[in-house]
Symmetry: C2
Subunit: 118 residues, 2 copies
């Protein structure tokens, strides 16, 4: 099909990298827009799934917000289930936790020392 071929082409170079790095980069990328961070924050602030239109909470148009929601969904960070005419959105705790751990491991693994010669 059309899109899958494009996807393969787009990610062809990514295949050259360690799969852990690929996965982590993809998750970081999903966090790489303030709207998406705000959406995650908002969803987490509810003590349940949020039912309704999240674009009321984000300073962007509804369709744009929907696109960011789709992005977060694609990354696995949130779930969205239809319930009647409304849609339930909530955070996917396991994926967020996984990201948190991978991120922590990444930074711990860096073991950065102050550089003296530059």
């Amino acid at each position: 099909m059309f899109t899958s071929k494009l996807r393969i082409m787009a990610e062809a170079k990514n295949q050259l990298f360690d799969s852990d790095l690929q996965e982590l980069a993809q998750l970081f990328k999903a966090l790489g827009h303030p709207a998406r961070l705000q959406i995650l924050k908002f969803l987490a602030s509810k003590n349940a799934c949020f039912t309704g239109d999240i674009s009321d909470e984000v300073p962007l148009g509804r369709t744009t917000v929907n696109q960011h929601l789709a992005e977060l969904r694609k990354a696995g960070l949130i779930q969205g289930t239809v319930q009647g005419v409304k849609t339930n959105y909530c955070i996917n705790p396991s994926v967020v936790k996984h990201l948190e751990e991978m991120g922590k491991d990444f930074f711990d693994g860096l073991s950065i020392i102050e550089c003296t010669d530059c």
Copy 2:
């Protein structure tokens, strides 16, 4: 000037967001490519600045790697100083630490609970 005007236009919508979210998103975005994660890892693995061509360490062409280096530099995560014909690259520990802390705060602030109704 030309580029700055474009930049302002491009980031116009970002201005609508909380500045903390903007900053964090920008840093996460810089981490959103496996090549950049690998570069950070590699630079951290040296116990000093690395002098020379990092493209030997990353499965991409030299100019592409240079572009990723510029990206990391723009985000403040690394420094690069010219030394004769070679260039010294090293991690900017304070910015990495700052990112680490902002990231931690973000995730801690989420206080995610398992959702029962979806």
